[in-house]
């Protein structure tokens, strides 16, 4: 074993050791980002590498969730900062980042619309700090200084970031 590979192996081992307690802490933090208010047609969530689960009113939504609507599907959501949003048909939205702890000043809201359409009315996070809230798409991103906006993203522009993780952990574009 050369010195270089020994060094690399040590680094890998170190990063694995560091990652274990981190992932444990993240698994404990199960505060929802929001909840489903309404569903029509087909709507589902991809969470933690598991197979797609159909969504119904009252279901909780978490950071890192990937939401899908079918060809006839729509989905209405209310997030914990009281922002409201909805997806039109054939849409994919990832809740990339959601943090709402105003007492600690910890705020973040980053959503990614890979394709489809969306309506959104901003809530407390944008009122407290508009810098931390945005909606990304493969082609553009929207910075929000309050109130209601609509966005559409044609399919066919998805990047590797917009691919769903399959239950086996392999990346596959849907």
């Amino acid at each position: 074993m050369t010195r270089k590979t020994l060094y690399r192996n040590c680094l890998v081992a170190l990063s694995v050791l560091l990652a274990i307690p981190c992932s444990g802490a993240m698994a404990l933090d199960n505060t929802p980002a929001g909840s489903v208010k309404s569903v029509s047609g087909e709507a589902s969530v991809l969470r933690g590498g598991a197979a797609a689960q159909p969504l119904k009113a009252g279901d909780r939504i978490f950071e890192k969730d990937v939401l899908h609507t079918g060809k006839q599907g729509t989905l209405g959501l209310i997030l914990r900062d009281n922002s409201t949003l909805s997806l039109g048909p054939s849409s994919r939205l990832e809740v990339k980042r959601f943090l709402f702890e105003p007492e600690k000043g910890a705020l973040a809201q980053v959503l990614r619309l890979s394709r489809g359409s969306m309506a959104a009315v901003s809530g407390e996070i944008v009122k407290l700090n508009p810098e931390v809230a945005r909606v990304e798409t493969p082609l553009y991103s929207v910075g929000i200084r309050g109130t209601q906006f609509l966005l559409n993203m044609e399919p066919g522009h998805e990047t590797s970031e917009d691919a769903d993780a399959t239950p086996t952990g392999k990346e596959a574009a849907k």
Binding site: K37, G88, S117, M118, Y140, V142, R145
Partner: protein, 203 residues
């Protein structure tokens, strides 16, 4: 003769196809619309090629690709807005409704006025068929903060019990205690009555 005509027709079709392709506007669109209360805000659309700002109700920009800047803001026709966003807009939930219930000093007893608000909280929860209700307890600055956290938790639990008794499902409730650190009003009074409260948000 017939082959000449065929070439003529073919070139006409080709020209028309090119014409319409040139006209087709990108359908990657961001539109600003007024809030339910009529207020209009601002959004910024950013690509690798530049930034466009929307600040007028109904205005929209288009993005052709990731490299060029968004188009200058334009008014979107109602027909196009409906085609792009109609279904999403109709699925947008109405804004959550918030109630503030006040308490007597130093305990988990509602003021008589706030007691009369409870039926309204219940009616709203039923009408919205809400399965997500936040109950957040607060206290004024009077006294030790550990005591205040405990007191605001008792207040939130008291309101939650009342809601459960009246038929709200326990799984729908999210109970939190904020102590005195999240006041409704900033006040010189340690024992500010407006901060002795439970906020109920019906989503």
């Amino acid at each position: 003769m017939s082959s000449l005509r065929r070439i003529l027709i073919l070139s006409c079709v080709l020209c028309a196809a090119l014409f319409f392709a040139g006209c087709a506007k990108p359908r990657n669109v961001v539109q600003l619309v007024p809030d339910p209360d009529g207020h209009v805000g601002v959004v910024q659309v950013t690509t690798k090629g530049g930034v466009a700002e929307l600040s007028k109700a109904g205005c929209a920009v288009r993005v052709a690709n990731g490299k060029s800047a968004p188009t200058p803001p334009e008014d979107l026709t109602d027909a196009e807005s409906e085609a792009l966003f109609g279904q999403a807009r109709r699925a947008l939930p109405t804004a959550p409704v918030r109630f503030v219930l006040y308490f007597e000093t130093d305990g988990a007893k509602l003021t008589p006025e706030s007691q009369t608000l409870l039926p309204q909280v219940l009616a709203t929860a039923k009408q919205r068929q809400s399965k997500d209700i936040a109950v957040v307890g607060h206290a004024s600055r009077l006294g030790d903060e550990n005591f205040n956290i405990e007191l605001s938790r008792k207040r939130a639990e008291f309101v939650s019990r009342m809601l459960i008794k009246e038929g709200i499902a326990k799984e729908s409730l999210e109970i939190t205690s904020h102590g005195s650190k999240n006041p409704l009003v900033v006040s010189q009074r340690l024992n500010e009555p407006k901060n002795r409260r439970v906020e109920v948000t019906v989503r």
